[in-house]
C-alpha cells in the first residue's frame, strides 16, 4: 500500500509541476502585460488554450511514464531487496533473494545471495564442528566411565554439594556391604547418580577433608589429597582417599568436586587386630611363665635347700612347662587357621579353574584330561596362572616320563580348604621322585618356569603331596588350596553376573548446584524422581489388601537410570486371591520366605529419599503406603506426581489414560509389563515424554505441575 501511494505521488508530481509552471509562468507574464496585450492574450488563450492544455497533458503523461519506470527500477526494487535481506538477517531463512530492478540492484542482490551462501556454509561447518567436539567429549566420557567400571578399586566422584556423578561397579558392591538392608535395596538407596554422599559419610568429615585439600591447593601442593577413616552406620570401617576435581585449566585452583577412592578395611582391620592381640597375649603369658620358670630354676641352684622345698620348686617347673606347651599348641592352632599368604590371590570359581586346567592339559601333545567329581559350588582363592602352570607341568612330566595318556581332575572341599587332585591310572612313583618334581623348576615341554611346584603351593599357603588309591590302581597329586571367604564369593559372583556396561556416570551433574529454591519452584526437568509401582492382592487396602511387590526406578538429570532400580517381592502374610494372579503373575509360593512389608518399606523409603515420587494412578499406590505408615514408622511425605492426571491434563480429549494407552500414544515400548518394575519403567518413560508437553502448556515447575494435576477432572475421582 505504501508503495502504491508513493507511485501515485510519483505519477502526480509531473502534473503538479506542470500546473505550477503554467500558473507561475502565466501569472508572471500577465503582470508584465499592458491592458490591450492582456486582451490579445486572453483572446489567443480562449482560441488556442486547448492546444496548450493538450501539450501539458502530453508532457505530464510522458514524464509520469518515465518516472514510474525509474521508480520501479530503483526505488521499489531497492525496497523489496531491503525487505528480503532483512528477513534473512533476522531469521535463518536460506532461500535466495530474487534479483529485480536495475542492473546495479541485481548485482547487489547477487552479492547478498553470495553472502547468504557463505553464512549457511559457515553455520554448517560450525554445527559440524560442535557435533564432532561433543561426540569426542561423549566418547572420552564413555571411555573414562568404562575404565572406571573395570577398576577393582572403588571410585566415587561427587560435585561440591556431595552429589554423586560417577561411581563404578566396585563402589556399588562396597555400598551394598554398607547398606543396612543389603538384600533389598542392594545399596541402591545409598549410591546412585545424584544421590548425596552424605548419606554414607558424615557431612562434617567430608567438609573437613575438603578444607584440607583446599588449603593444600592454595599452598600449591602437587598432590593435594586427603584421607580419612570412618565407621559407617552398618558398622563397617571405611578408608577413603579424597582427591580434588579441579577446573579444566591447568593452573585453575578452584574446586569443582572430589574423587573418593574407598577401601573397606573392616576385615583387614579385624584380622590384624585379632592377630596382634593373640601375639600380645601370648608374649605376656610367655613372659610370666618364663619368669616363674627362671626364678624357680635359679632357686634350685641353692645347695642348702631342703628336700621338701626343692620338690615344690620342681613342681612349679613341671607345671609351668606344661602350661607353656599348652599355650604354644593353642597359638599354633590359631595361627594356622589365620595364616594367609601375602601373595595376592584372586577369587575364582573352582569349576572355572578346573575347566581352564582341562583345556591347558588337552593342548599338550599326547595328553587328555577328563574331569571326575567336581564341587561346582566351591570358590577358591588362587593365583590361577601359576597354578595352571603347575598342573600342566605335572601332567606333562607324567606323560613324558611315565607315558601317562589320560589324567583326571577332581575338586572337593575339605573343611576350611579345597582338594584339587590330578589323578592318573597305572604306575606310581617313589617319594623321592615326587620330592624332586616338587622342588625343580616347572617344565612343560620346551617351556620352563622359574617357579617350582613348591613355590606355587607356598603362594597359596597350601600343601602338596601324592597318594595312592590302591584299590583302584590309581595315584594322584593333591593340592590343598584356600577357599574364598563368603563375602568375597558374593562380591565376585556379582562381578561375574553383570554383563553389559552400565550407566554409572553423568558429568552434567557437575553443573548442578544445590538449589535454595523451594522444591515447588524447581523446574520439572531438573528434579530427581523415583518412579514406582506396586502390585497388590487387591484394590482395597482398608479391607486388608496388601502389597506383594514394589518396583521403582530413578530419573536423574532428565535421564532414566535403569541400573538404579529397586525390585522386591513382599510376603503379604495373607493369601493371594486367585483372581488377581493373572494380573500380576505372582504365585503364592513366590512370596513365601520374602521379607514382610515392615522390612521392605523402610528400605524403599531410603531409596526414595530426596526425590519426587511418580506413579501412574499414584493415589492408589500412596493409599497402600500411607496405611502402613504407623506400622513401619516411615512416612512418605515427598511430593507426588501422577502420570494419569498429567496425561489427562495434556490430552484432555483422549478417552483412555490407562498406562498402556498412554504408552502407545507416546510410542513407548512396553516391556515386562505387570511386574512392578516393568510398569515403573514404562511410567518413567511416559513421564519423561510428558514433561516437554507440560512445558508447552506453560507448566514448568513442580508446583505448577501439581496444581495442574489437582485441577484435572480425574483428580476429583476417589479411588
Amino acid at each position: 500500500m505504501k508503495g502504491d501511494k508513493r507511485l501515485l505521488l510519483v505519477l502526480l508530481a509531473p502534473g503538479a509541476f506542470l500546473a505550477l509552471f503554467a500558473l507561475a509562468g502565466g501569472a508572471l507574464l500577465w503582470s508584465t502585460l499592458e491592458a490591450p496585450q492582456r486582451e490579445t492574450l486572453a483572446g489567443l488563450l480562449n482560441e488556442r488554450g486547448a492546444l496548450l492544455v493538450m501539450a501539458a497533458l502530453g508532457t505530464w503523461g510522458l514524464a509520469a511514464w518515465l518516472l514510474s519506470g525509474l521508480y520501479r527500477q530503483y526505488a521499489s526494487a531497492a525496497a523489496k531487496l531491503l525487505e528480503q535481506a532483512r528477513v534473512r538477517l533476522d531469521s535463518d531463512l536460506q532461500h535466495e533473494i530474487t534479483p529485480d530492478g536495475a542492473a546495479s540492484l541485481r548485482h547487489l542482490a547477487a552479492t547478498v545471495n553470495q553472502l547468504l551462501h557463505q553464512r549457511t556454509e559457515l553455520r554448517e561447518q560450525m554445527a559440524q564442528k560442535v557435533a564432532e567436539a561433543s561426540r569426542h567429549i561423549d566418547e572420552e566420557r564413555a571411555r573414562l566411565a568404562a575404565l572406571m567400571s573395570e577398576l577393582t578399586q572403588s571410585v566415587v566422584v561427587c560435585n561440591l554439594d556431595g552429589r554423586i556423578l560417577l561411581y563404578n561397579q566396585r563402589a556399588q558392591l562396597q555400598f551394598r556391604a554398607l547398606s543396612s538392608a543389603p538384600a533389598l535395596a542392594g545399596g541402591a538407596e545409598l549410591i546412585g547418580l545424584g544421590r548425596s554422599i552424605y548419606s554414607v559419610f558424615e557431612r562434617k568429615l567430608v567438609r573437613h577433608a575438603l578444607e584440607n585439600i583446599q588449603q593444600r591447593l592454595q599452598r600449591g601442593a602437587a598432590q593435594p589429597a586427603a584421607q580419612f577413616v570412618t565407621t559407617t552406620a552398618a558398622g563397617q570401617l571405611l578408608r577413603a582417599m579424597m582427591s580434588p576435581v579441579r577446573g579444566g585449566e591447568a593452573d585453575d585452583p578452584s574446586l569443582h568436586g572430589f574423587v573418593l577412592m574407598l577401601d573397606n578395611i573392616t576385615r583387614d582391620y579385624e584380622e590384624e587386630s585379632a592377630r596382634d592381640q593373640a601375639l600380645h597375649a601370648f608374649t605376656e603369658a610367655a613372659r610370666a611363665s618364663l619368669g616363674n620358670l627362671r626364678a624357680a630354676v635359679e632357686m634350685l641352684d641353692d645347695p642348702d635347700m631342703e628336700a621338701a622345698v626343692r620338690e615344690r620348686f620342681q613342681a612349679v617347673i613341671s607345671d609351668e612347662v606344661q602350661l607353656m606347651s599348652h599355650r604354644i599348641q593353642e597359638l599354633a592352632a590359631q595361627s594356622t587357621q589365620d595364616m594367609r599368604t601375602r601373595w595376592p590371590l584372586e577369587d575364582m570359581l573352582g569349576a572355572d579353574l578346573v575347566a581352564a586346567a582341562q583345556r591347558r592339559i588337552d593342548a599338550l601333545p599326547g595328553l587328555r584330561a577328563s574331569t571326575g567329581e567336581i564341587d561346582e559350588t566351591l570358590w577358591l582363592k588362587v593365583d590361577s596362572f601359576a597354578l595352571l602352570g603347575a598342573l600342566a607341568s605335572l601332567a606333562w612330566r607324567l606323560g613324558d616320563e611315565y607315558e601317562v595318556k589320560v589324567v583326571e581332575l577332581r575338586l572337593h572341599s575339605a573343611g576350611q580348604r579345597a582338594h584339587l587332585d590330578l589323578v592318573w591310572a597305572g604306575p606310581s612313583m617313589n617319594t623321592e621322585t615326587v620330592v624332586n618334581w616338587e622342588a625343580e623348576p616347572m617344565k612343560t615341554g620346551a617351556e620352563t618356569s622359574p617357579l617350582s611346584v613348591r613355590d606355587v603351593v607356598q603362594r597359596h599357603g597350601g600343601e602338596f603331596w601324592f597318594e595312592r588309591e590302591r584299590a583302584r590302581h590309581r595315584t594322584f597329586f593333591r593340592f590343598l588350596l584356600p577357599l574364598a571367604s563368603a563375602q568375597e564369593q558374593l562380591d565376585t559372583a556379582t562381578f561375574v553376573r553383570s554383563d553389559s556396561r552400565p550407566e554409572y556416570y553423568d558429568f552434567d551433574l557437575f553443573q548442578a548446584t544445590e538449589s535454595s529454591r523451594a522444591l515447588d519452584d524447581q523446574p520439572l526437568h531438573e528434579l530427581t524422581y523415583t518412579v514406582f509401582d506396586t502390585e497388590t492382592t487387591g484394590l482395597n487396602p482398608s479391607e486388608g489388601d496388601e502389597i506383594i511387590q514394589i518396583g521403582a526406578t530413578r530419573i536423574v538429570g532428565g535421564k532414566l537410570r535403569r541400573r538404579e532400580s529397586f525390585e522386591q517381592l513382599v510376603d503379604p502374610q495373607r493369601g493371594i486371591p486367585a483372581a488377581s494372579i493373572p494380573i500380576h503373575g505372582i504365585q503364592p509360593e513366590m512370596v513365601a520366605g520374602q521379607p514382610t512389608i515392615d522390612i521392605v518399606l523402610p528400605a524403599f523409603h531410603k531409596f526414595c529419599a530426596d526425590t519426587v515420587l511418580v506413579a501412574h494412578n499414584a493415589a492408589f499406590d500412596m493409599r497402600f503406603l500411607q496405611l502402613k505408615e504407623e506400622r513401619t514408622g516411615v512416612k512418605f511425605d515427598q511430593p507426588v506426581l501422577d502420570t494419569l492426571l498429567l496425561s489427562a491434563a495434556v490430552h484432555p480429549s483422549q478417552d483412555s489414560h490407562r498406562l498402556e494407552a498412554i504408552a502407545e500414544r507416546f510410542d513407548v515400548t512396553v516391556m515386562g509389563r505387570h511386574t512392578a518394575l516393568g510398569d515403573a519403567m514404562v511410567t518413567a518413560e511416559v513421564f519423561m515424554k510428558l514433561i516437554p508437553l507440560l512445558q508447552a502448556q506453560g507448566v514448568h515447575t513442580l508446583g505448577q505441575a501439581r496444581e495442574l494435576a489437582q485441577k484435572t477432572y480425574f483428580a476429583r475421582l476417589k479411588y
Partner: protein, 124 residues
Amino acid sequence: MTHRVLIADDEPNIVISLEYLMKRAGYEVSVARDGQEAIDAIRRERPQLVLLDVMMPKKSGFEVCQELRADEALKGTLVLMLTAKGRDTDIDKGLGVGADAYMTKPFATKDLVAKVAEMLGAAK
C-alpha cells in the same frame, strides 16, 4: 633392723620363688594375692618395699601404686613393679604412676635381689 617386703602377685608359681628369695636375702616377707589385699597389707604392715605385679584380680598393680602415692602415710613405700607387661608403654605407665623401678619377666633372680638391696640401701 630387718626390712619388711610385701610380695603382691596372684600367681603362686612366682610367689613361691620370690618368697624364698627374699627370705634368703634376710627380709621379713608377707604375701598378698590380689590388689585389694596388697593395699590392706601395706596399710597394716607398712613394708618398706613392695614387689608389685601389674595383672592382679580386683585391683591392678597400676591402681595399687597410684593409691599408695596418693596416701601421705604410705607415700614412702618403695615399689618395684614386676610384670610380664613388657612394652615400652607399659614401663612408662608403671613409672608414671609412681613405681620406683620396673622389672620385666623373665628376670634373673640375682638382678632382682641386687635391685631390692639397692633400693632399700638408698632409702636408709
